[in-house]
Amino acid sequence: MTVLVLVETDAGGVAEVSLETLTVARGIGGVDALVVGGIAEDVVTRLGEYGAGRVVQALGEPFSSYAPAAWAAAVVAAVDDHDVVMAAGTPRGNEVMAHVACRLGTAMAANVVTVDAGAPLRVSRQVLGGAALEEMELTGRAVLTVAGHACEPAPADEPGAASVVPLEPEVAEADLRARVVRTEAGEPDQSGSLKSARVVVGAGRGAGGADGFKELLELADHVGGTIGVSRVVTSLGWRPHHEQVGQTGSRISPDLYIPCGISGAIQHWAGCSGAKTILAVNTDPDAPMVTKAHYAVIGDLHQVVPAVNEEIRRRRA
């Protein structure tokens, strides 16, 4: 079988999630990559290391700013005998692949974690924010996206040729009706610092109110961390939405997560299960967050957190 992978790039070259996607793709068969817009030489090299035979490069004015339907037109133009078309399960990956599925007249499976090659292709994918998996069969040409962290990205045993194939696909006027007209970089994705934080101090309903965060912020400062909150906290207006962790907030993967007064509903867990170590502070020893944590303190966060801050200050002095 052969696979076409839509690759996303960022400041560091090929996006980590796209490397994961290429790794999953190699498990199915031979891989070609598609990159939209100009690509640096090191990106081509990296795609070769990850097994890409061809690196199709979509060029032309339609790609000077992001237009999802134009990207989909490029993907469809690059498909020849590929059995599977895939991208990473990022906002753009999911968006473009859904367009591609409509154009190819097939189903799409979002956030796939495992693939069994064959016809029909059998995949398992995350549903309910990752709390359950759905086994799904894809008949005909399969279109899918790969969930973040579905696998460890690994270079191919035998690198691919990575021969660059320039492509100037035909893009219809209608495909440019939805197109980014401006980007305000001044307000970069404010949750960016949360997503990349090494330590996150979490706060839920237990914080008690908008004025219940002083000690939590001090703790965050001591550990060089940032604040992450539950949906209860954002819907009550105690903290802004860009601090929300979970299924409809940010997915975090810090070395340490310290959820205080958070029960650990599956929708919150969806966002924090990637933390390496979890230290929960909760009055309820049976709260799911406590039973799933590595470490826990049972108690009122308004007593525990100040005591911890004081102990840190004491040891520092």
């Binding site: 980014v180 970089a185 409809t248 303190v297 911890v308």
Partner: protein, 256 residues
């Protein structure tokens, strides 16, 4: 004037744990409440705001069992003024079926004189997370579509829509009629008032029976990830645990 259609899906409101039916075909919701995705709550709020700003109407639509009418009433209570219930077995429907059924309603209403200049949906449903009904609907209706949007406003014959992009806030301007899918974060959904609830009760919900033979979702079954036995190490109770906590922070090397 802009008439807005907003689509919501009734889903299980799970707490800390999910259980499946014995055959693994779906989530066991017998002892659980139901809700809609926060993304859709925000879509409802935006629909109400756009309708108000342009002297149009906000219509809420759902496809599902009879019980899903409760979710329509919730949206009516916060400012939608009309409701459409497509009666169908949502479990047997895949995203392409749902989109086709919604498109039929849009076309029927258009033939009867109501054009939905803007159709809002959630970015992804809380349960199946297919990330595609909005886009499929746009293809059915041959309309432009953009996903993951936090704020929208209608300006003349265009909709201005902004959302988080990889390098900042991306803004799109789409010609109407258009489809936009919404992500939580740009607006505060309002809470229903008591008069709102009363009004909602009185609205006549339009019922459409959908009788297509669905393509289906391709689902074979659901599975739960293996349950890990709890390995939590208790560091203590109350403020007395502070030294043990700080020991751990030191061990992990996170203190500045």
């Amino acid at each position: 004037m802009a008439d807005v259609l907003v689509c919501v899906k009734r889903v299980v409101d799970t707490g800390g744990e999910v259980t499946l039916t014995e055959d693994g075909s779906r989530v066991d919701d017998r002892s659980l409440g139901h809700t809609v995705s926060p993304h859709e709550e925000c879509a409802v709020e935006l629909a109400v705001q756009v309708a108000k700003a342009t002297d149009g109407e906000a219509t809420v639509l759902t496809l599902g069992s009879e019980d899903a009418v409760a979710q329509l009433r919730d949206a009516l209570a916060v400012g939608c003024t009309r409701a459409v219930h497509i009666e169908a077995d949502a479990d047997g429907y895949g995203p392409a079926d749902v989109a086709a059924a919604i498109a039929d309603v849009v076309r029927t209403h258009e033939a009867a004189g109501t054009t939905y200049d803007l159709v809002l949906l959630g970015n992804d449903a809380a349960d199946t997370g297919d990330f595609q009904v909005g886009i499929r609907l746009a293809y059915e209706l041959d309309r432009p579509v953009v996903t993951g949007i936090a704020t929208v406003s209608v300006e003349g014959d265009r909709v201005v829509a902004s959302g988080d992009g990889p390098e900042g806030t991306d803004t799109y301007e789409l010609p109407l009629p258009a489809v936009v899918t919404v992500m939580e974060g740009g607006v505060e959904p309002r809470y229903p008032s008591i008069p709102g609830r009363m009004r909602a009760k009185r609205v006549q919900v339009e019922t459409v029976v959908d009788e297509r033979v669905p393509v289906g979702s391709g689902r074979v079954r659901l599975k739960l990830p293996p349950v890990q036995p709890s390995q939590v190490q208790l560091l203590g109770e109350g403020p007395e645990a502070a030294p043990a906590v700080v020991d751990l922070l030191e061990k992990l090397g996170v203190l500045r």
